[in-house]
């Protein structure tokens, strides 16, 4: 992943990369503004996600499971889609919109709220996952002496602090690198500026790279936070234990809690429903004319990339779970690639692969696959690392001691043992590739634009119902994939999954915590 960036720097027209862009005050102001935006988005996600996580994981709020699933939906689609959905509702000519609502939507506050609502489920899911895993004995010991609010504040929240920090890192990374939604909402962000720099009339990759340096510093800081304070514990906190203690009975607070929980859920799915509403019959009727091969163009590279990402995860995950030094370094690079603006990675890849000898890569979807693998490898590696951390290292050692070589150990032990985690990682990686916009948009092969890119390129002047219908297809595609995965994960575990060596965790559910 460093290679494309290096090529950008070395192979550009400019004689020597100039640091001039960083001497101007504008980029720094923009960076400060973007960091402020990120902090605000983070605040919104925590304000929504933490109470939601507590309610769905540890209380008897009615319908909490369904609420969680519905609430989680927007985090799996490009944030541009919820932004479009809100626009169809609150834009000046929207369903319930007016001048004031449009003004609010197309403002910093609007972007913060849209991104906050879109990313809040990340905090909710990671917090819920961690809460399910707090050792029940800790909580039971506290229940003897303390009332629930105190237990939450003094026992549960501190216990899941690593998961909260992890969620915060993911949200910050996604907000920092997001391009589509801020551009649509006309909010200037650093990643959008780098994107525009690569798309702007005076094509200057080296300059874009220089502009990237401050982002890399921020990304390194995020990675450091993740490593130093939460890295070790985050793995441990995300596994699922085999039993849980009973949820807190909310008593008279049960219905107010339900109102909160379901209001948040409603807010989460409203923009997605709005897409369907705006599309209407006309939008869907016109779909065949406009959708082209977009679904296929999305699914095929995403499936290849997800498979490669999982394969990488199967190789690197076990090593990472044992803190192998080389794997740890690769993981750091993967994390940086995930946080860095995707457009830059894309242009770097194009610079490397557009040679006559490698046209077979550049002219095909392979180039998109490569970009996806580079950007989202961290998803597979982390998911498998989490899964491997849940099983004793001796399980693999034993295979090697008894004569099984590396491949045999992988095929005979690691893969069958962690098949749920592998399936989870695959789906999770696939979802990330499907929701990708900024990596592929600048270099997708002619005629092979993925669906998310098509929504983005048609959005400017395309007929709204059609754009909304295309966006709805993207949402449905992702939800179908997740539904398939949930179904597979819910398959009854066979007897052998029940063992003495802590193998009872339904590993699939760890995928959400993998990052």
């Amino acid at each position: 992943m460093l290679w494309p960036l290096f090529v950008l720097l070395a192979g550009s027209d400019e004689a020597a990369p100039s640091f001039a862009p960083l001497r101007a005050v504008e980029p720094w102001l923009l960076l400060a503004r973007t960091l402020a935006l990120t902090a605000a988005v983070l605040a919104v996600t925590l304000a929504i996600g933490l109470p939601m996580g507590l309610l769905v994981a540890r209380t008897d709020t009615p319908g909490r499971r369904i609420a969680l699933v519905a609430h989680a939906a927007p985090m799996f689609v490009p944030p541009l889609l919820p932004a479009l959905g809100w626009f169809y509702l609150f834009g000046r000519n929207g369903l319930i919109g007016g001048e004031a609502s449009a003004g609010l939507l197309f403002s910093d506050l609007g972007a913060v709220l849209v991104l906050g609502l879109t990313f809040a489920p990340i905090v909710t899911s990671l917090a819920a996952l961690a809460l399910w895993n707090v050792d029940p004995s800790q909580e039971e010991a506290a229940r003897v002496v303390a009332r629930p609010p105190r237990i939450v504040a003094r026992i549960l929240l501190p216990a899941i602090l690593p998961a909260i920090a992890l969620a915060a890192v993911v949200v910050a990374a996604l907000t920092l690198s997001e391009v589509g939604a801020p551009m649509f909402l006309r909010v200037r962000t650093y990643a959008a500026a780098v994107f525009a720099r690569l798309g702007g009339v005076d094509f200057a990759p080296a300059e874009a790279f220089v502009l990237l340096l401050p982002v890399l510093v921020v990304a390194l800081a995020l990675a450091a936070v993740e490593r130093r304070s939460i890295g070790r514990r985050s793995f441990a906190v995300l596994g699922l234990r085999s039993f849980r203690s009973a949820p807190f009975a909310l008593g008279r607070w049960r219905w107010p809690a339900a109102v909160f929980c379901w209001s948040v859920t409603g807010l989460s799915i409203t923009p997605l429903l709005a897409l369907g509403w705006r599309a209407g019959l006309r939008g869907f009727a016109d779909l065949p004319l406009w959708i082209g091969g977009a679904v296929w163009n999305s699914l095929v590279p995403a499936a290849w990339a997800a498979s490669a990402i999982v394969a990488l995860g199967v190789v690197l995950g076990p090593l990472l779970s044992r803190r192998d030094r080389a794997a740890t370094r690769l993981d750091l690079v993967a994390l940086l690639a995930f946080v860095a603006p995707g457009a830059l990675l894309g242009v770097g890849l194009a610079a490397i692969w557009n040679q006559p000898e490698t046209a077979w890569v550049y002219q095909t979807s392979a180039i998109i696959v490569l970009g996806f693998v580079g950007r989202y490898a961290v998803v597979g590696v982390r998911t498998l690392a989490v899964a491997c951390t849940q099983t004793p290292a001796q399980i693999e050692d034993a295979a090697r001691v008894f004569g099984a070589g590396y491949l045999r150990t992988l095929a005979g032990i690691v893969v069958p043992l962690h098949w749920r985690a592998i399936l989870g990682a695959w789906v999770f990686a696939m979802v990330f590739c499907l929701r990708d916009l900024e990596t592929a948009v600048l270099y997708y092969p002619p005629g092979r634009a993925p669906l998310a890119v098509r929504v983005f390129t048609l959005e400017a002047n395309g007929p709204e119902p059609v754009v909304a219908a295309l966006a709805s297809v993207q949402v449905l595609l992702t939800l179908a994939l997740l539904g398939f995965a949930l179904g597979a994960a819910a398959m009854r575990p066979r007897a052998h999954d029940d063992t003495s060596v802590r193998q009872r965790q339904p590993e699939f559910r760890e995928h959400a915590g993998a990052l």
Binding site: Q394, D397, V401, G403, H496, T499, V501
Partner: protein
């Protein structure tokens, strides 16, 4: 069967030493019980023997073959023809008892037609014929222990290493399995290293006993020879033997 030799082996993790200048020879067909308090480096000794860790200094030999030397694993674990019974067994939860044996036999290249016979014989020896199709999650503690032992012995390894395999069992089961192991070792003239912190197990199984402390071997010999050792740790361990009335 082969001789296993450790020449001046040291192992450290950062600044923490696990083994320091340890030397020990396990003769072919001999069972050496390695005895010592928790944290004295017993498990590290086995991991070095297996090639799961490389010794920081020193050499590990199997017969005339150098297995590891000075920070390098020269023969990877899967080619050492050693077997191991792990402390918490490390059974593979997704494989049945029979599949465990089949997996290791295939791994060491035993042809398919011979596998069947060896599996049946091994399962008979550990009295698990009836449980061949069961997965580890469906077995009792004693049965799991037998699977681990069967898995270690079915490939007829050059030497077998056992890491406190009976430590979590009740007295009755322990006696029963000690008898089983003793019989199997004698019958197959196994080279074995049996790590334990229980002197009674060491005496029951070991031809010789190596007493470890702080990463090194402080005394080695048959139980009668050890009785005269001036080493305080040896005397302390032998007291345990007196209490138990052996």
């Amino acid at each position: 069967m082969t001789t296993l030799r450790f020449d001046n082996v040291s192992l450290s993790f950062g600044s923490t030493p696990a083994l320091s200048d340890l030397s020990l020879v396990v003769e072919s067909g001999e069972v050496v019980a390695v005895l010592g308090p928790s944290g004295c480096g017993k498990t590290s000794l086995l991991r070095v023997a297996l090639g799961l860790d490389a010794p920081t200094r020193g050499t590990v030999w199997a017969g005339a073959t150098r297995l590891s030397a000075d920070g390098q694993v020269l023969v990877p674990p899967e080619r050492r023809r050693l077997a191991m019974v792990f402390q918490d067994l490390a059974l593979w939860p997704h494989l049945s008892v029979e599949a465990h044996l089949r997996f290791v036999l295939s791994s060491v290249g035993v042809p398919k037609r011979d596998q069947e016979e060896r599996i049946i014989r091994m399962l008979e020896q550990v009295e698990l014929q009836e449980r061949a199709a069961a997965h580890p999650g469906e077995l009792s503690g004693g049965e799991r222990q037998r699977v681990a032992i069967a898995r270690a012995l079915v490939t007829e390894p050059a030497a077998v290493l056992l890491d406190e395999p009976l430590s979590n069992l009740d007295l009755r089961l322990r006696r029963e399995l000690l008898g089983l192991l003793k019989g199997l070792f004698a019958q197959r003239r196994m080279t074995a290293v049996y790590v334990t912190h229980d002197i009674r197990e060491a005496v029951a199984l070991g031809d010789r006993i190596a007493v470890m402390n702080a990463g090194g071997v402080v005394a080695v010999g048959a139980i009668d020879a050890l009785r005269g050792s001036p080493e305080p740790l040896v005397r302390e361990l032998l007291e345990g033997l007196t209490w138990s009335g052996l």
